[in-house]
Subunit: 206 residues, 2 copies
């Protein structure tokens, strides 16, 4: 792409570094910014810079936080003895958006994946084990993606916590609400039959 | 979406204002920025702010410029007596990227569209007419999108320049290179037969 302005070219190149944003999309976005009022663009740029400079990670659960402890850990109304173990901050946001979970989280920062060179030491697992022992956690809910890596991570942490008396569960897998049976993959369908529920608990969940 | 950090929420909301960027994409991009080094993110934010604050529009052709005159108008090697009339800056970048055009441009800033309330007065048409008369332009090449609005704009400007002696042309329409005949729309195919070229000039263009 040929630009007649170095300022424009620079902004487009910076945008095109973001994942999933090609040069053409970057140009479209930058030309949109060019049409916006200057204070709006200043607000946009500054909000990104401030976010990167000032954001912290919760000392307890490794979720993003504006201070030392995130707003979920700091909320005394949430069940502190319940920990939902997730891979990333994105999963926390997804679960929080359901407004159905009232416990706390623990963000691993990834999952065990030897092929990618990610072992237990690179993840926030040690702190989770310490936390479970120190805080007398009642239940650990795994909400990891159902991959081999996810299962390995569950297996590893479960082993580490053997004898601690904590209850370990994982979120339900099955046919999605609104999903049609004939389009479900065989694995999901087979597992949803094996792990079938009494109708009462199904109705209660609605 | 529920966020545990106001800084994160703010950055996501700012991103989601851009066209074609929804909340989920915005979150993905912001979490990517969060993983990047702070100086990189500062560079990104500042390049956008600086672009918006400092970018100018060329006094002559209304293209984006770092100074009063854009680098194309300032380039004495370009044929100043040739003006390519385009709708927007994006079209200038597209044509420049072909590296096949060595004249100058005139950015209209839109096209005549009475239904959208855009008349000739809102566009850089008066300045184009003045420029053609003052600069003794030899040829005006219209590179507008082939819509009714585009054709209306060509017709209007052509009328305004009647008697000026300037040659007025428009970029060729036809089957795209690599395009297959059977998938071409009827209008394009019909016009490409009517406006057929001698084989010599076709081969020369290759």
């Amino acid at each position: 792409m040929q630009f007649s302005s170095a300022l424009l070219e620079n902004a487009v190149n910076e945008f095109a570094r973001l994942p999933g944003i090609g040069k053409k999309t970057a140009l479209r976005l930058v030309l949109h910014l060019l049409k916006m009022d200057t204070p709006m663009v200043e607000g946009f740029g500054e909000s990104l810079i401030r976010m990167r400079q000032d954001i912290k990670f919760c000392h307890r659960c490794y979720n993003v936080a504006d201070g030392d402890v995130c707003s979920i850990c700091a909320n005394s109304l949430r069940k502190q003895e319940l920990i939902c173990v997730v891979e990333s901050i994105r999963d926390v946001i997804a679960i929080e958006s359901t407004q159905q979970y009232s416990g706390t989280y623990h963000v691993l920062g990834g999952i065990i994946s030897p092929l990618d060179g990610v072992g237990p030491d690179q993840l926030n697992i040690e702190s989770l084990v310490n936390r479970v022992q120190k805080e007398e956690t009642r239940e650990l809910i795994f909400a990891l993606n159902p991959t081999i890596q996810g299962d390995t991570t569950i297996y590893y942490i479960q082993k580490r916590l053997q004898g601690s008396g904590v209850k370990i569960t994982t979120i339900a897998r099955g046919i999605a609400f609104g999903g049609e049976l004939e389009y479900a993959d065989e694995m999901t369908l087979a597992r949803s039959i094996t792990n079938r529920l009494p109708v009462e608990s199904y109705m209660a969940g609605k």
